[in-house]
Symmetry: C2
Subunit: 300 residues, 2 copies
Protein backbone atom coordinates (compact mmCIF):
# COMPACT_ATOMS: atom_id res chain seq x y z
CA UNK A 1 0.00 0.00 0.00
CA UNK A 2 1.53 3.30 -1.06
CA UNK A 3 2.14 5.91 1.63
CA UNK A 4 2.30 9.69 1.25
CA UNK A 5 6.08 9.41 1.65
CA UNK A 6 6.19 7.18 -1.45
CA UNK A 7 4.46 9.61 -3.79
CA UNK A 8 5.44 13.04 -2.37
CA UNK A 9 3.49 16.23 -1.88
CA UNK A 10 2.93 17.45 -5.45
CA UNK A 11 1.59 14.10 -6.68
CA UNK A 12 -0.58 13.78 -3.58
CA UNK A 13 -2.17 17.19 -4.05
CA UNK A 14 -2.82 16.50 -7.72
CA UNK A 15 -4.76 13.37 -6.80
CA UNK A 16 -6.68 15.00 -3.96
CA UNK A 17 -8.00 18.11 -5.69
CA UNK A 18 -9.85 15.89 -8.19
CA UNK A 19 -11.99 14.50 -5.36
CA UNK A 20 -13.63 17.70 -4.11
CA UNK A 21 -15.83 20.28 -5.90
CA UNK A 22 -13.77 23.20 -7.18
CA UNK A 23 -14.47 26.49 -8.88
CA UNK A 24 -14.44 26.61 -12.68
CA UNK A 25 -11.97 29.51 -12.36
CA UNK A 26 -8.48 28.02 -11.90
CA UNK A 27 -7.28 31.08 -9.96
CA UNK A 28 -9.99 30.35 -7.36
CA UNK A 29 -8.59 26.91 -6.62
CA UNK A 30 -5.36 25.29 -5.46
CA UNK A 31 -2.13 25.81 -7.42
CA UNK A 32 -0.89 29.30 -6.62
CA UNK A 33 0.48 30.94 -3.47
CA UNK A 34 -3.09 31.98 -2.62
CA UNK A 35 -6.55 31.27 -4.02
CA UNK A 36 -8.15 34.30 -5.69
CA UNK A 37 -11.89 34.87 -5.18
CA UNK A 38 -13.74 37.44 -7.27
CA UNK A 39 -16.63 38.18 -4.93
CA UNK A 40 -18.02 41.15 -6.80
CA UNK A 41 -17.01 42.13 -10.35
CA UNK A 42 -17.77 45.76 -9.46
CA UNK A 43 -15.28 45.80 -6.60
CA UNK A 44 -11.73 47.11 -7.18
CA UNK A 45 -10.33 44.39 -4.90
CA UNK A 46 -10.18 40.60 -4.99
CA UNK A 47 -10.31 38.29 -1.97
CA UNK A 48 -7.21 36.11 -1.37
CA UNK A 49 -7.21 32.93 0.72
CA UNK A 50 -4.24 31.06 2.16
CA UNK A 51 -3.62 28.27 4.63
CA UNK A 52 -0.30 27.03 5.95
CA UNK A 53 0.98 24.81 8.74
CA UNK A 54 4.04 24.29 10.91
CA UNK A 55 4.70 21.05 12.77
CA UNK A 56 7.06 20.39 15.67
CA UNK A 57 10.24 18.48 14.72
CA UNK A 58 9.65 19.40 11.05
CA UNK A 59 9.50 23.20 10.88
CA UNK A 60 10.80 23.94 14.38
CA UNK A 61 12.38 22.06 17.26
CA UNK A 62 11.18 21.65 20.83
CA UNK A 63 13.82 24.14 22.00
CA UNK A 64 13.09 26.75 19.29
CA UNK A 65 11.87 29.91 21.08
CA UNK A 66 8.07 29.86 20.77
CA UNK A 67 7.98 33.54 19.82
CA UNK A 68 10.16 32.77 16.79
CA UNK A 69 7.86 29.89 15.86
CA UNK A 70 4.85 32.22 16.01
CA UNK A 71 6.60 34.83 13.88
CA UNK A 72 7.51 32.20 11.33
CA UNK A 73 4.00 30.73 11.22
CA UNK A 74 2.44 34.12 10.47
CA UNK A 75 5.24 35.49 8.26
CA UNK A 76 5.05 32.47 5.92
CA UNK A 77 1.42 33.37 5.24
CA UNK A 78 2.24 37.06 4.79
CA UNK A 79 4.94 36.04 2.30
CA UNK A 80 2.29 34.24 0.21
CA UNK A 81 0.08 37.33 0.09
CA UNK A 82 3.11 39.37 -0.96
CA UNK A 83 3.74 36.90 -3.79
CA UNK A 84 0.26 37.65 -5.21
CA UNK A 85 0.75 41.42 -4.98
CA UNK A 86 -1.65 41.61 -2.02
CA UNK A 87 -1.71 41.97 1.72
CA UNK A 88 -3.18 40.01 4.65
CA UNK A 89 -6.45 41.02 6.32
CA UNK A 90 -7.93 38.44 8.77
CA UNK A 91 -6.13 35.50 10.40
CA UNK A 92 -7.54 32.23 11.77
CA UNK A 93 -5.14 30.38 14.07
CA UNK A 94 -5.59 26.67 14.73
CA UNK A 95 -3.46 24.90 17.31
CA UNK A 96 -3.29 21.15 17.84
CA UNK A 97 -1.33 20.70 21.05
CA UNK A 98 -0.40 17.83 23.34
CA UNK A 99 -1.93 18.44 26.78
CA UNK A 100 1.50 18.78 28.43
CA UNK A 101 2.27 21.93 26.37
CA UNK A 102 3.17 24.76 28.78
CA UNK A 103 0.73 27.68 28.73
CA UNK A 104 3.75 30.01 28.66
CA UNK A 105 4.91 28.37 25.40
CA UNK A 106 1.52 28.96 23.75
CA UNK A 107 1.46 32.56 24.98
CA UNK A 108 4.91 33.17 23.51
CA UNK A 109 3.78 31.58 20.25
CA UNK A 110 0.87 34.03 20.10
CA UNK A 111 3.19 36.95 20.96
CA UNK A 112 5.31 36.03 17.94
CA UNK A 113 2.21 35.90 15.72
CA UNK A 114 1.11 39.23 17.18
CA UNK A 115 4.51 40.83 16.42
CA UNK A 116 4.22 39.79 12.79
CA UNK A 117 0.66 41.10 12.45
CA UNK A 118 1.62 44.39 14.08
CA UNK A 119 4.48 44.83 11.66
CA UNK A 120 2.88 43.57 8.44
CA UNK A 121 -0.85 44.05 8.96
CA UNK A 122 -3.75 41.68 9.52
CA UNK A 123 -6.10 41.09 12.43
CA UNK A 124 -6.96 37.99 14.44
CA UNK A 125 -10.46 36.87 13.43
CA UNK A 126 -10.68 33.53 15.19
CA UNK A 127 -9.07 30.27 16.02
CA UNK A 128 -9.43 26.77 17.27
CA UNK A 129 -7.50 24.79 19.82
CA UNK A 130 -7.55 21.02 19.81
CA UNK A 131 -5.61 18.44 21.72
CA UNK A 132 -3.43 15.74 20.23
CA UNK A 133 -2.40 12.72 22.32
CA UNK A 134 0.46 13.22 24.79
CA UNK A 135 3.79 12.97 22.95
CA UNK A 136 2.33 13.83 19.53
CA UNK A 137 3.79 16.72 17.56
CA UNK A 138 2.22 20.15 17.99
CA UNK A 139 0.74 21.55 14.77
CA UNK A 140 0.12 25.24 14.13
CA UNK A 141 -2.17 25.90 11.19
CA UNK A 142 -2.77 29.47 10.07
CA UNK A 143 -5.38 30.42 7.50
CA UNK A 144 -5.85 33.98 6.41
CA UNK A 145 -7.83 36.16 4.08
CA UNK A 146 -6.08 38.87 2.14
CA UNK A 147 -6.90 41.40 -0.51
CA UNK A 148 -5.32 42.65 -3.69
CA UNK A 149 -6.25 45.44 -6.07
CA UNK A 150 -7.55 43.82 -9.23
CA UNK A 151 -4.85 45.41 -11.42
CA UNK A 152 -2.05 44.38 -9.03
CA UNK A 153 -2.80 40.64 -8.95
CA UNK A 154 0.12 38.47 -10.09
CA UNK A 155 -0.24 34.73 -10.64
CA UNK A 156 2.37 32.02 -11.21
CA UNK A 157 0.84 31.02 -14.48
CA UNK A 158 1.01 34.17 -16.57
CA UNK A 159 4.67 34.49 -17.56
CA UNK A 160 5.82 34.13 -21.18
CA UNK A 161 8.72 32.46 -22.91
CA UNK A 162 11.51 35.04 -23.04
CA UNK A 163 10.67 36.68 -19.72
CA UNK A 164 13.60 37.36 -17.41
CA UNK A 165 13.77 35.56 -14.04
CA UNK A 166 14.87 37.43 -10.91
CA UNK A 167 15.07 36.76 -7.20
CA UNK A 168 15.14 39.14 -4.26
CA UNK A 169 17.71 38.77 -1.50
CA UNK A 170 20.13 35.86 -1.08
CA UNK A 171 19.38 32.16 -1.08
CA UNK A 172 20.54 29.12 0.90
CA UNK A 173 21.50 28.35 4.47
CA UNK A 174 18.18 29.48 5.89
CA UNK A 175 18.41 26.77 8.55
CA UNK A 176 21.25 28.79 10.17
CA UNK A 177 18.55 31.10 11.50
CA UNK A 178 16.88 33.06 8.72
CA UNK A 179 13.99 30.55 8.53
CA UNK A 180 12.89 31.82 11.96
CA UNK A 181 13.58 35.49 11.44
CA UNK A 182 12.86 36.46 7.84
CA UNK A 183 11.09 39.53 6.56
CA UNK A 184 8.23 38.75 4.19
CA UNK A 185 8.79 40.84 1.05
CA UNK A 186 5.46 42.65 1.33
CA UNK A 187 6.86 46.14 0.75
CA UNK A 188 9.01 45.05 -2.18
CA UNK A 189 6.12 43.16 -3.81
CA UNK A 190 3.79 46.14 -3.44
CA UNK A 191 6.34 48.37 -5.14
CA UNK A 192 6.91 45.83 -7.91
CA UNK A 193 3.24 45.32 -8.78
CA UNK A 194 2.54 49.03 -8.89
CA UNK A 195 5.68 50.07 -10.84
CA UNK A 196 7.06 47.11 -12.83
CA UNK A 197 4.34 44.52 -12.71
CA UNK A 198 5.90 41.04 -12.91
CA UNK A 199 4.36 38.66 -15.45
CA UNK A 200 4.52 35.98 -12.74
CA UNK A 201 5.66 35.80 -9.13
CA UNK A 202 5.84 33.37 -6.21
CA UNK A 203 7.62 33.13 -2.90
CA UNK A 204 10.49 30.67 -2.45
CA UNK A 205 9.56 28.30 0.35
CA UNK A 206 10.65 24.85 -0.83
CA UNK A 207 13.87 25.97 -2.56
CA UNK A 208 14.45 27.34 -6.04
CA UNK A 209 15.00 23.80 -7.38
CA UNK A 210 11.42 22.89 -6.41
CA UNK A 211 9.70 26.25 -6.83
CA UNK A 212 11.11 27.51 -10.15
CA UNK A 213 9.90 24.39 -12.03
CA UNK A 214 6.43 25.03 -10.53
CA UNK A 215 6.33 28.61 -11.82
CA UNK A 216 7.67 27.60 -15.22
CA UNK A 217 5.24 24.67 -15.57
CA UNK A 218 2.28 26.83 -14.48
CA UNK A 219 3.25 29.32 -17.19
CA UNK A 220 3.62 26.56 -19.79
CA UNK A 221 7.35 27.03 -20.26
CA UNK A 222 10.77 25.75 -19.32
CA UNK A 223 13.64 27.71 -17.77
CA UNK A 224 17.37 28.22 -18.07
CA UNK A 225 19.36 29.54 -15.13
CA UNK A 226 23.04 29.72 -14.31
CA UNK A 227 23.39 28.19 -10.81
CA UNK A 228 26.80 29.82 -10.39
CA UNK A 229 25.17 33.24 -10.79
CA UNK A 230 22.71 32.73 -7.94
CA UNK A 231 22.89 35.26 -5.08
CA UNK A 232 23.96 33.05 -2.17
CA UNK A 233 24.05 33.73 1.53
CA UNK A 234 27.57 33.93 3.05
CA UNK A 235 29.14 30.50 3.31
CA UNK A 236 26.59 28.84 1.02
CA UNK A 237 27.18 26.92 -2.20
CA UNK A 238 24.97 27.24 -5.30
CA UNK A 239 23.60 23.76 -4.46
CA UNK A 240 22.43 25.05 -1.10
CA UNK A 241 20.89 28.12 -2.74
CA UNK A 242 18.95 25.75 -4.99
CA UNK A 243 17.98 23.15 -2.47
CA UNK A 244 17.90 24.34 1.13
CA UNK A 245 14.49 25.99 0.94
CA UNK A 246 12.77 28.36 3.38
CA UNK A 247 14.31 31.41 1.71
CA UNK A 248 11.01 33.38 1.67
CA UNK A 249 12.36 35.57 -1.10
CA UNK A 250 10.41 36.50 -4.23
CA UNK A 251 10.94 34.75 -7.54
CA UNK A 252 9.59 36.85 -10.39
CA UNK A 253 9.42 37.02 -14.16
CA UNK A 254 9.62 40.35 -15.98
CA UNK A 255 9.10 41.19 -19.65
CA UNK A 256 12.55 41.75 -21.21
CA UNK A 257 11.60 45.29 -22.32
CA UNK A 258 11.28 46.41 -18.66
CA UNK A 259 14.34 44.73 -17.19
CA UNK A 260 16.95 47.48 -17.53
CA UNK A 261 14.65 50.11 -16.10
CA UNK A 262 13.71 47.84 -13.18
CA UNK A 263 17.31 46.95 -12.34
CA UNK A 264 18.20 50.65 -12.34
CA UNK A 265 15.26 51.70 -10.15
CA UNK A 266 15.44 48.87 -7.59
CA UNK A 267 18.63 49.84 -5.69
CA UNK A 268 17.37 53.39 -5.29
CA UNK A 269 14.23 52.06 -3.57
CA UNK A 270 15.76 49.07 -1.75
CA UNK A 271 19.48 49.76 -1.28
CA UNK A 272 19.97 46.92 1.21
CA UNK A 273 18.32 44.10 -0.71
CA UNK A 274 19.76 42.70 -3.95
CA UNK A 275 17.55 41.94 -6.92
CA UNK A 276 19.38 39.45 -9.11
CA UNK A 277 18.78 38.33 -12.66
CA UNK A 278 19.17 34.55 -12.60
CA UNK A 279 17.98 33.39 -16.04
CA UNK A 280 14.97 33.31 -18.28
CA UNK A 281 11.93 31.32 -19.35
CA UNK A 282 12.32 29.28 -22.53
CA UNK A 283 10.26 26.82 -24.53
CA UNK A 284 9.57 23.72 -22.44
CA UNK A 285 11.66 21.39 -24.60
CA UNK A 286 14.67 23.75 -24.39
CA UNK A 287 14.62 24.05 -20.60
CA UNK A 288 16.87 22.48 -17.99
CA UNK A 289 15.84 20.50 -14.92
CA UNK A 290 16.95 20.93 -11.33
CA UNK A 291 17.27 18.51 -8.44
CA UNK A 292 16.98 19.26 -4.74
CA UNK A 293 14.55 21.23 -2.65
CA UNK A 294 12.29 20.40 0.23
CA UNK A 295 10.14 17.27 0.00
CA UNK A 296 7.40 17.39 2.63
CA UNK A 297 6.92 13.68 3.26
CA UNK A 298 10.51 12.54 2.98
CA UNK A 299 12.36 11.45 6.09
CA UNK A 300 16.01 10.51 6.28
CA UNK B 1 4.83 25.37 35.03
CA UNK B 2 1.17 25.29 34.06
CA UNK B 3 0.18 23.23 31.01
CA UNK B 4 -2.79 23.72 28.68
CA UNK B 5 -4.41 20.70 30.39
CA UNK B 6 -4.27 22.56 33.72
CA UNK B 7 -6.16 25.63 32.58
CA UNK B 8 -8.50 24.27 29.85
CA UNK B 9 -9.55 25.60 26.49
CA UNK B 10 -11.76 28.57 27.41
CA UNK B 11 -9.19 30.10 29.80
CA UNK B 12 -6.41 29.49 27.27
CA UNK B 13 -8.25 31.25 24.45
CA UNK B 14 -9.09 34.19 26.70
CA UNK B 15 -5.39 34.67 27.46
CA UNK B 16 -4.27 34.24 23.87
CA UNK B 17 -6.61 36.64 22.11
CA UNK B 18 -5.17 39.49 24.17
CA UNK B 19 -1.76 38.94 22.57
CA UNK B 20 -2.63 39.55 18.90
CA UNK B 21 -4.13 42.60 17.13
CA UNK B 22 -7.91 42.27 16.78
CA UNK B 23 -10.68 44.23 15.14
CA UNK B 24 -12.50 46.84 17.21
CA UNK B 25 -15.74 45.11 16.16
CA UNK B 26 -16.29 42.16 18.53
CA UNK B 27 -18.23 40.21 15.86
CA UNK B 28 -15.10 40.31 13.66
CA UNK B 29 -13.02 38.50 16.26
CA UNK B 30 -13.03 35.22 18.19
CA UNK B 31 -15.97 34.30 20.42
CA UNK B 32 -18.79 33.17 18.13
CA UNK B 33 -19.26 30.16 15.85
CA UNK B 34 -17.74 32.23 13.02
CA UNK B 35 -16.05 35.62 12.71
CA UNK B 36 -18.14 38.19 10.84
CA UNK B 37 -16.35 40.57 8.46
CA UNK B 38 -18.17 43.56 7.03
CA UNK B 39 -16.11 44.09 3.87
CA UNK B 40 -18.39 46.64 2.25
CA UNK B 41 -21.24 48.44 4.03
CA UNK B 42 -23.04 48.71 0.69
CA UNK B 43 -23.08 44.94 0.18
CA UNK B 44 -26.14 42.91 1.20
CA UNK B 45 -23.88 40.10 2.45
CA UNK B 46 -21.28 39.71 5.17
CA UNK B 47 -18.18 37.51 5.01
CA UNK B 48 -17.97 34.68 7.57
CA UNK B 49 -14.73 32.96 8.59
CA UNK B 50 -14.30 29.67 10.43
CA UNK B 51 -11.49 27.26 11.26
CA UNK B 52 -11.75 23.87 12.89
CA UNK B 53 -9.56 20.83 13.43
CA UNK B 54 -9.81 17.08 13.96
CA UNK B 55 -6.98 15.05 15.45
CA UNK B 56 -6.42 11.30 15.34
CA UNK B 57 -7.16 9.49 18.64
CA UNK B 58 -9.17 12.53 19.81
CA UNK B 59 -11.91 13.10 17.22
CA UNK B 60 -11.52 9.84 15.34
CA UNK B 61 -9.71 6.53 15.73
CA UNK B 62 -7.15 4.88 13.46
CA UNK B 63 -9.82 2.41 12.31
CA UNK B 64 -12.52 5.04 11.67
CA UNK B 65 -13.33 4.94 7.94
CA UNK B 66 -11.45 7.88 6.40
CA UNK B 67 -14.46 8.92 4.37
CA UNK B 68 -16.45 9.38 7.59
CA UNK B 69 -13.58 11.43 9.06
CA UNK B 70 -13.62 13.68 6.00
CA UNK B 71 -17.37 14.13 6.19
CA UNK B 72 -17.12 15.00 9.87
CA UNK B 73 -14.27 17.48 9.33
CA UNK B 74 -16.24 19.41 6.70
CA UNK B 75 -19.69 19.04 8.28
CA UNK B 76 -18.49 20.53 11.59
CA UNK B 77 -17.54 23.68 9.71
CA UNK B 78 -20.82 23.73 7.77
CA UNK B 79 -22.64 23.43 11.11
CA UNK B 80 -20.90 26.61 12.32
CA UNK B 81 -22.01 28.55 9.25
CA UNK B 82 -25.57 27.28 9.83
CA UNK B 83 -25.39 28.56 13.40
CA UNK B 84 -24.76 32.11 12.11
CA UNK B 85 -27.62 31.93 9.59
CA UNK B 86 -25.15 31.63 6.71
CA UNK B 87 -23.66 29.11 4.32
CA UNK B 88 -20.16 27.97 3.35
CA UNK B 89 -18.41 29.25 0.22
CA UNK B 90 -14.66 28.38 -0.06
CA UNK B 91 -12.76 25.72 1.87
CA UNK B 92 -9.03 25.49 2.71
CA UNK B 93 -7.91 22.03 3.79
CA UNK B 94 -4.71 21.57 5.77
CA UNK B 95 -3.38 18.11 6.51
CA UNK B 96 -0.53 17.29 8.89
CA UNK B 97 0.22 13.63 8.28
CA UNK B 98 2.83 11.13 9.40
CA UNK B 99 4.78 9.90 6.35
CA UNK B 100 3.47 6.34 6.74
CA UNK B 101 -0.13 7.48 6.08
CA UNK B 102 -1.55 5.42 3.19
CA UNK B 103 -2.38 7.47 0.10
CA UNK B 104 -5.68 5.55 -0.09
CA UNK B 105 -6.58 6.82 3.39
CA UNK B 106 -6.00 10.45 2.37
CA UNK B 107 -7.99 9.98 -0.83
CA UNK B 108 -10.91 8.55 1.15
CA UNK B 109 -10.65 11.47 3.55
CA UNK B 110 -10.95 13.89 0.62
CA UNK B 111 -13.88 11.88 -0.81
CA UNK B 112 -15.70 12.36 2.49
CA UNK B 113 -14.99 16.10 2.42
CA UNK B 114 -16.16 16.18 -1.20
CA UNK B 115 -19.43 14.41 -0.32
CA UNK B 116 -20.19 17.03 2.29
CA UNK B 117 -19.41 19.94 -0.03
CA UNK B 118 -21.54 18.42 -2.79
CA UNK B 119 -24.46 18.07 -0.41
CA UNK B 120 -24.19 21.33 1.53
CA UNK B 121 -22.32 23.70 -0.79
CA UNK B 122 -18.84 25.17 -0.80
CA UNK B 123 -15.85 24.80 -3.12
CA UNK B 124 -12.26 23.74 -2.51
CA UNK B 125 -10.08 26.87 -2.75
CA UNK B 126 -6.76 25.53 -1.51
CA UNK B 127 -4.87 23.50 0.98
CA UNK B 128 -1.61 22.59 2.55
CA UNK B 129 -0.02 19.28 3.36
CA UNK B 130 2.70 19.00 5.94
CA UNK B 131 4.39 16.04 7.53
CA UNK B 132 4.51 15.27 11.23
CA UNK B 133 7.09 12.82 12.59
CA UNK B 134 6.36 9.11 12.17
CA UNK B 135 3.94 7.97 14.88
CA UNK B 136 2.53 11.44 15.55
CA UNK B 137 -1.21 12.01 15.33
CA UNK B 138 -2.65 13.15 12.00
CA UNK B 139 -4.34 16.55 12.18
CA UNK B 140 -6.97 17.77 9.71
CA UNK B 141 -7.56 21.49 9.87
CA UNK B 142 -10.33 23.01 7.75
CA UNK B 143 -10.80 26.73 7.36
CA UNK B 144 -13.61 28.16 5.30
CA UNK B 145 -15.20 31.36 4.21
CA UNK B 146 -18.95 31.69 4.23
CA UNK B 147 -21.55 34.33 3.60
CA UNK B 148 -24.74 35.50 5.25
CA UNK B 149 -27.33 38.06 4.25
CA UNK B 150 -26.91 41.03 6.55
CA UNK B 151 -30.46 40.75 7.91
CA UNK B 152 -30.11 37.00 8.57
CA UNK B 153 -26.99 37.14 10.74
CA UNK B 154 -27.49 35.65 14.22
CA UNK B 155 -24.85 35.96 16.95
CA UNK B 156 -24.53 34.23 20.32
CA UNK B 157 -24.49 37.51 22.16
CA UNK B 158 -27.79 39.13 21.24
CA UNK B 159 -30.40 37.20 23.26
CA UNK B 160 -32.38 38.84 26.06
CA UNK B 161 -33.49 37.80 29.52
CA UNK B 162 -36.87 36.15 29.08
CA UNK B 163 -36.10 34.58 25.69
CA UNK B 164 -37.09 30.95 25.27
CA UNK B 165 -34.36 28.34 24.69
CA UNK B 166 -34.85 25.56 22.15
CA UNK B 167 -32.79 22.78 20.62
CA UNK B 168 -33.21 20.92 17.35
CA UNK B 169 -33.02 17.13 17.22
CA UNK B 170 -32.02 14.85 20.08
CA UNK B 171 -28.96 15.05 22.31
CA UNK B 172 -26.48 12.60 23.82
CA UNK B 173 -24.81 9.37 22.79
CA UNK B 174 -23.25 10.86 19.68
CA UNK B 175 -20.22 8.61 20.15
CA UNK B 176 -22.43 5.63 19.16
CA UNK B 177 -22.07 6.87 15.58
CA UNK B 178 -23.85 10.16 15.01
CA UNK B 179 -20.61 12.12 15.52
CA UNK B 180 -19.39 10.66 12.23
CA UNK B 181 -22.63 10.87 10.32
CA UNK B 182 -24.58 13.96 11.34
CA UNK B 183 -26.45 16.38 9.12
CA UNK B 184 -25.45 20.00 9.70
CA UNK B 185 -28.68 21.96 10.28
CA UNK B 186 -28.11 24.30 7.35
CA UNK B 187 -31.61 24.01 5.91
CA UNK B 188 -33.28 24.40 9.30
CA UNK B 189 -31.16 27.42 10.20
CA UNK B 190 -31.90 29.11 6.88
CA UNK B 191 -35.61 28.64 7.46
CA UNK B 192 -35.36 29.93 11.03
CA UNK B 193 -33.45 33.12 10.19
CA UNK B 194 -35.81 34.03 7.37
CA UNK B 195 -39.09 33.22 9.19
CA UNK B 196 -38.58 33.34 12.98
CA UNK B 197 -35.25 34.98 13.46
CA UNK B 198 -33.64 33.70 16.68
CA UNK B 199 -32.28 36.34 19.05
CA UNK B 200 -29.20 34.11 19.45
CA UNK B 201 -28.04 30.79 18.05
CA UNK B 202 -25.05 28.42 18.16
CA UNK B 203 -24.32 24.82 17.29
CA UNK B 204 -23.85 22.25 20.04
CA UNK B 205 -20.37 20.78 19.68
CA UNK B 206 -19.00 20.50 23.22
CA UNK B 207 -22.28 19.48 24.89
CA UNK B 208 -25.17 21.59 26.17
CA UNK B 209 -23.52 21.82 29.60
CA UNK B 210 -20.54 23.63 28.05
CA UNK B 211 -22.25 25.45 25.19
CA UNK B 212 -25.39 26.85 26.83
CA UNK B 213 -23.38 28.74 29.49
CA UNK B 214 -21.32 30.24 26.63
CA UNK B 215 -24.43 31.53 24.82
CA UNK B 216 -25.96 32.84 28.05
CA UNK B 217 -22.74 34.56 29.16
CA UNK B 218 -22.22 36.11 25.71
CA UNK B 219 -25.76 37.51 25.96
CA UNK B 220 -25.15 38.80 29.49
CA UNK B 221 -27.66 36.49 31.12
CA UNK B 222 -28.11 33.27 33.06
CA UNK B 223 -30.32 30.32 32.14
CA UNK B 224 -32.79 27.89 33.68
CA UNK B 225 -33.45 24.57 32.00
CA UNK B 226 -35.13 21.36 33.10
CA UNK B 227 -32.63 18.55 32.33
CA UNK B 228 -35.40 15.95 32.54
CA UNK B 229 -37.20 17.71 29.68
CA UNK B 230 -34.24 17.47 27.27
CA UNK B 231 -34.84 15.58 24.01
CA UNK B 232 -32.52 12.60 24.40
CA UNK B 233 -31.37 10.03 21.89
CA UNK B 234 -32.66 6.49 22.48
CA UNK B 235 -30.90 4.87 25.44
CA UNK B 236 -29.41 8.15 26.71
CA UNK B 237 -29.81 9.77 30.10
CA UNK B 238 -30.28 13.53 30.60
CA UNK B 239 -26.68 13.63 31.92
CA UNK B 240 -25.47 12.26 28.60
CA UNK B 241 -27.61 14.77 26.71
CA UNK B 242 -25.91 17.51 28.71
CA UNK B 243 -22.38 16.22 28.65
CA UNK B 244 -21.57 13.90 25.76
CA UNK B 245 -21.04 16.63 23.17
CA UNK B 246 -20.74 16.38 19.38
CA UNK B 247 -24.52 16.70 18.93
CA UNK B 248 -24.20 19.27 16.10
CA UNK B 249 -27.74 20.41 16.76
CA UNK B 250 -28.80 24.06 16.97
CA UNK B 251 -29.32 25.81 20.29
CA UNK B 252 -31.41 28.94 19.83
CA UNK B 253 -33.16 31.66 21.75
CA UNK B 254 -36.50 33.09 20.59
CA UNK B 255 -38.48 36.06 21.83
CA UNK B 256 -41.41 34.73 23.90
CA UNK B 257 -43.95 36.49 21.66
CA UNK B 258 -42.95 34.28 18.67
CA UNK B 259 -42.67 30.92 20.39
CA UNK B 260 -46.20 29.53 19.90
CA UNK B 261 -46.22 30.42 16.23
CA UNK B 262 -42.76 28.88 15.71
CA UNK B 263 -43.62 25.63 17.51
CA UNK B 264 -46.77 25.32 15.38
CA UNK B 265 -44.97 26.00 12.07
CA UNK B 266 -41.87 23.86 12.65
CA UNK B 267 -43.39 20.34 12.38
CA UNK B 268 -45.08 21.28 9.13
CA UNK B 269 -41.71 22.21 7.64
CA UNK B 270 -39.53 19.59 9.38
CA UNK B 271 -41.77 16.68 10.33
CA UNK B 272 -38.86 14.36 11.11
CA UNK B 273 -36.83 16.62 13.38
CA UNK B 274 -38.04 17.68 16.82
CA UNK B 275 -37.69 21.27 18.02
CA UNK B 276 -37.85 21.25 21.80
CA UNK B 277 -38.34 24.03 24.30
CA UNK B 278 -35.81 23.39 27.05
CA UNK B 279 -35.89 26.50 29.24
CA UNK B 280 -35.29 30.23 29.17
CA UNK B 281 -32.74 32.95 29.75
CA UNK B 282 -32.91 34.69 33.14
CA UNK B 283 -30.97 37.33 35.02
CA UNK B 284 -27.42 36.11 35.66
CA UNK B 285 -27.82 35.89 39.44
CA UNK B 286 -31.01 33.81 39.08
CA UNK B 287 -29.48 31.25 36.70
CA UNK B 288 -28.35 27.70 37.34
CA UNK B 289 -25.00 26.13 36.51
CA UNK B 290 -24.26 22.89 34.70
CA UNK B 291 -21.39 20.46 34.90
CA UNK B 292 -20.11 18.17 32.17
CA UNK B 293 -19.30 18.64 28.52
CA UNK B 294 -16.20 18.20 26.46
CA UNK B 295 -12.93 19.63 27.77
CA UNK B 296 -10.38 19.78 24.97
CA UNK B 297 -7.17 19.37 26.93
CA UNK B 298 -8.37 16.91 29.52
CA UNK B 299 -7.13 13.33 29.36
CA UNK B 300 -8.23 10.49 31.62
Amino acid sequence: MKSVRDIGEDALIQRLVELVPRSGDPAAGPGDDCAVIDQDPASPTLLLLKTDALAAHIHFLPDTPAQAVGWKAAARVVSDFAAMGGQPTHFLITLALPPETPVAWVEDLYRGIGNCLEKHGGLLAGGETSSVPPGSAAVISIASTGCVRREHLVLRSTAHVGDILLVTGRLGGSIQGKHLDFTPRLREARWLVSKYKPTAMMDLSDGLAKDLPRLAAASGSGFLIDPSALPVNPGCTPAQALGDGEDYELLLAIAPARIDELLAAWPVEFPDLPLTRIGSLVETHAGQSLTGGWEHFSFP
